[in-house]
């Protein structure tokens, strides 16, 4: 070893002044600084703010009533059980079979025939982002002429995902800025006017960023129209359990589509409902005609994953399969999810009441009409900037408030600030 190192040192002193040393100019001259991510950049700015009054209602990560991140008790228990018992070996390319099985039950139903008939091609994915990306790449590869219809507005990263997958995007109407609810008529028009067989991205529940979900009846109409038009429904379900507090209820949209015989795609995430944000665990499923097709589709999804990350991370998957396959832990999880959802619903009520008590002349009903982690406040970018600059309140410039960041301690301050920036509106 010593002689090797000595040889290298000799080599360095001989060559350091040699030909072609690019010490001053750079290969990366034309690399511009990327714009800050609109969502994650908010937290960075929040962390950098020294003000004691600062409030982070930016990124959608749950906080308890003290504004602290939460690790669920069921997760802690699962971690205790698995430590020392893992062998750290590569998962298969499709991820943890057990975790995927349990995850499909959540979306498709505990006793779903589709699962029994093995008609679902499913792989573990890197949370919701990874699931959407696998699907987008799969869509590009096997339906290269297709486009994706994305609601307006949507989670900003949806656009990035399908763009990097090189799938052209179209939009469809979703949010009605005046009612601050669903623009159902325009949505249905867009569904009808899209060419037959179009691919649509739908938020299964707790729409991000608006919190506006179709009613059950509206979902049935959408499903029906999808049948008429032979459209493909891709569900992004990032908040199952988080919307109403009941995972079964939150999966209603998907179940309606399944009843109607649609062959759907579905991205699921455990970031929020199990608080496993940083572990990056989720699932992509594609419902096929039969088992043979599901096997083929799964093999192709794995083929896409292999040159992206080879196989997905294990730790989070183990936590999930430990919890969901143990009835007591699963029950604990269900309770804890309900607590989180209920706290958010409580904060919605509190925020609205505070604003009304302050004598705001505007209507704030949408705060309690909307559901899930986010409230689309209706604030303009300029009003948002004022909230940040004058009141040290951090949120995305589209006016999306993460209700998970609202506490009994800050809801008054938040209401007051919102009232201040809107009262002259």
């Amino acid at each position: 070893m010593a002689s090797k190192t000595a040889a290298i040192c000799r080599g360095i002193s001989r060559r350091s002044s040699g030909f072609g040393v690019r010490s001053m100019s750079s290969w990366w001259r034309n690399v511009e600084p990327a714009p800050k991510d609109p969502i994650l950049g908010v937290t960075e700015a929040f962390l950098a703010d020294p003000s004691p009054n600062k409030v982070n209602v930016g990124v959608g990560a749950y906080r308890d009533d003290n504004g602290k991140p939460v690790v669920l008790e069921c997760v802690r228990e699962a971690e205790r059980r698995i430590i020392g018992n893992q062998n750290m070996e590569y998962l298969p390319m499709g991820g943890s079979v057990k975790m995927v099985e349990e995850t499909l039950k959540l979306a498709y139903g505990e006793n779903s025939d589709l699962i029994k008939e093995k008609r679902i091609a499913a792989v573990q994915a890197l949370s919701g982002t990874g699931a959407c990306r696998l699907f987008a790449d799969f869509q590009k590869r096997f339906r290269p002429d297709s486009q994706i219809y994305i609601p307006v507005p949507t989670w900003a990263n949806h656009h990035n995902i399908w763009r990097d997958a090189q799938v052209p995007q179209r939009t469809f109407h979703y949010y009605h800025p005046v009612s601050k609810g669903l623009d159902f008529a325009s949505l249905m028009d867009d569904i009808k006017n899209a060419p037959n067989g179009s691919f649509f991205l739908l938020h299964a529940c707790a729409h991000n960023p608006t919190g506006v979900d179709p009613t059950e009846e509206q979902w049935r109409e959408i499903s029906y129209q999808f049948k008429v038009k032979d459209h493909f429904a891709f569900f992004d379900m990032a908040y199952q359990g988080f919307a109403s507090g009941d995972p079964e209820r939150d999966a209603k949209s998907i179940r309606i589509f399944l009843e109607d015989g649609h062959l759907i795609g579905c991205a699921q995430s455990y970031a929020k409902n199990m608080g496993l944000y940083g572990q990056r665990v989720g699932c992509l499923s594609v419902l096929c005609e039969d088992e043979k097709q599901a096997v083929a589709v799964k093999s192709q999804l794995q083929q896409i994953a292999r040159p992206m990350y080879s196989n997905p991370p294990s730790h989070g998957a183990l936590i999930i399969s430990t919890i969901l396959s143990d009835p007591d832990l699963k029950n604990l999880w269900l309770k804890e999810v309900k607590v989180m959802a209920d706290r958010i619903i409580g904060m919605r009520t509190a925020l609205q009441e505070n604003l009304e008590r302050l004598g705001s002349s505007l209507s704030w009903e949408h705060i309690t009409n909307q559901i899930g982690m986010f409230c689309y406040s209706g604030l303009t970018p300029e009003q948002v900037d004022r909230l940040t600059n004058e009141f040290h309140i951090y949120l995305t410039r589209n006016g999306r408030i993460s209700m998970a960041g609202v506490t009994t301690g800050n809801v008054g301050y938040l209401a007051n600030a919102i009232h201040e920036v809107t009262k002259s509106a």
């Binding site: 060559r15 030909f19 690019r22 690399v31 890197l126 572990q279």
Partner: protein
């Protein structure tokens, strides 16, 4: 084809519906019935008639064919399916103990216990990953006191092990150097081509393995790198070349650096075995440090799958050494932009383990000892295999390449037919390119393996 179901009265009789359903069921089409209540959004045209909603379940993905099994990961799957007692898995490069069991390093167990005790949260990492991890990983690779780190000239982004880190770099190359080629060794790790193909980066091969000597075709290597268009990216294995186990000597590395500088190429290292090749972390990084010391801008992908046994947790990094800190900041921001639509931010668990182990002097030293043990076991197995082959093979064939090769793998020189014989007759699982993973070989099995190799080499063409 869809026919809408509407009934005159708000509720049609369920029995009647069931009856119709039974009559209409045809093959893979299912008849879906739904009672349409008076609906403000839909005007129903018919009244007093019942029509059916025919859900035709034809998939959009009809034409999707079965993907071929992965040449590397597929081997383990085939091994699992084999019921023969003598079976041996020399496929995937995952370390095994002498008892052929997976090995979780003690330092990893200790780190995990500490993490559990601290009750750390599970919040999103920043897109670029865990800061503490990024710091220690760059220091481990380049040396903590390397000026390039002091000067902020290294853009480090946590990636999904080696694969994910290579992928980030590949997309970056496609975006900022459209049309630029990556030169990859012949042979190389099977997944390299997939990564560049899926990133739409053109690639070509440079000669590397010389089957006549079962060693390095150095002249071919130099010649091919020289001939490539100026400004190509040259993918180099930092140590323990996969699949051959054949590494350039220090003098050869110098010459490779010379030719790369001469041709204005960009060195792109894949470092998946730091510490695993020789047993020394610093020695195994010497090729990378040599290039960095010349003031070159380089890309380096790292993996902790093997050296920390963290296969399952997908932990690695992409490092881009830039000539200025400003360039490093810009490059880092663009790498983040590539990661965000792929997985948003990387997984925490493996990053924390590495940060804990490498960041704690006691654990770090303990790790170095464990690594020496692992690398040592592989060296012992190489010796035993060589001894067995030399003793059993009466043909006079020179098997010393087994000792000269380094790291987890050995390129046996067996061709595809011979490899098939290894599997079909001897139940030895390996990749078709003739690569065996010594990490999956025990001293106890060396003689059996020697028999298999000798038989395949001499009796099968």
């Amino acid at each position: 084809m869809v026919i809408s179901l509407a009934s005159a009265s708000p509720s049609a009789s369920p029995a009647m519906l069931e009856n119709l359903k039974a009559q209409m069921k045809l093959g893979s089409s299912h008849v879906m019935f739904r009672k349409e209540k008076a609906n403000p959004f839909i005007k129903t045209q018919s009244s007093g008639r019942i029509t059916m909603a025919l859900a035709v379940n034809v998939s959009r993905f009809e034409g999707v064919t079965m993907a071929p099994p992965d040449p590397i990961l597929g081997v383990s799957e085939a091994f699992k399916a084999d019921t023969n007692d003598m079976k041996l898995n020399l496929g995937v490069g995952a370390y095994r103990t002498e008892e052929l069991q997976p090995y979780v390093l003690n330092v990893v167990k200790k780190a995990e216990n500490r993490m559990l005790e601290r009750r750390e949260n599970k919040e999103y990492l920043p897109i670029e990953g865990l800061a503490a991890f990024n710091k220690v990983t760059a220091e481990l690779l380049f040396g903590a006191d390397n000026p390039i780190i002091q000067q902020g000239r290294v853009a480090t982004v946590q990636g999904l092990s080696g694969t994910g880190s290579l992928r980030l770099a590949a997309v970056f190359i496609e975006r900022y150097f459209p049309g630029a080629k990556v030169l990859i060794s012949s042979p190389t790790w099977g997944n390299h081509k997939n990564i560049f193909n899926d990133s739409r980066v053109p690639w070509s091969e440079y000669r590397y393995y010389d089957p006549k000597t079962v060693g390095l075709d150095f002249d071919g290597l130099i010649s091919d790198i020289k001939a490539a268009p100026e400004g190509s990216f040259v993918l180099l294995h930092g140590c323990a070349h996969n699949p051959t186990g054949i590494d350039p000597t220090p003098e050869q590395w110098e010459k490779i650096a010379d030719i790369i500088q001469e041709r204005n190429h960009i060195p792109f290292f894949d470092v998946a075995y730091q510490g695993f090749a020789s047993g020394s972390l610093d020695a195994d990084a010497s090729s990378v440090r040599l290039f960095a010391a010349r003031g070159l801008e380089i890309l380096v992908a790292q993996s902790y799958s093997k050296n920390l046994g963290l296969y399952a947790e997908r932990i690695g990094a992409i490092n881009v050494v830039c000539s200025t800190s400003d360039a490093a900041a810009r490059v880092k921001s663009q790498l983040k932009r590539i990661a965000r639509p792929m997985y948003s931010n990387p997984p925490i668990h493996g990053a924390r383990i590495v940060a804990n182990v490498v960041g704690d002097p006691a654990l770090f030293n303990e790790w170095k000892e464990e690594m020496e043990l692992m690398a040592g076991r592989i060296k012992n197995v190489r010796q035993k295999l060589f001894d067995s082959l030399s003793a059993k093979d009466k043909s006079g064939k020179d098997w010393s390449f087994i000792l000269k090769q380094i790291g987890m793998f050995s390129f046996t020189g067996l061709n595809k037919t011979q490899t098939d014989n290894m599997t079909d007759k001897w139940h030895v699982y390996m990749t078709k390119d003739g690569r065996i993973s010594l990490a999956g070989l025990s001293l106890a099995k060396c003689e059996y393996l020697a028999d298999a190799i000798i038989d395949s080499f001499h009796n099968v063409s």
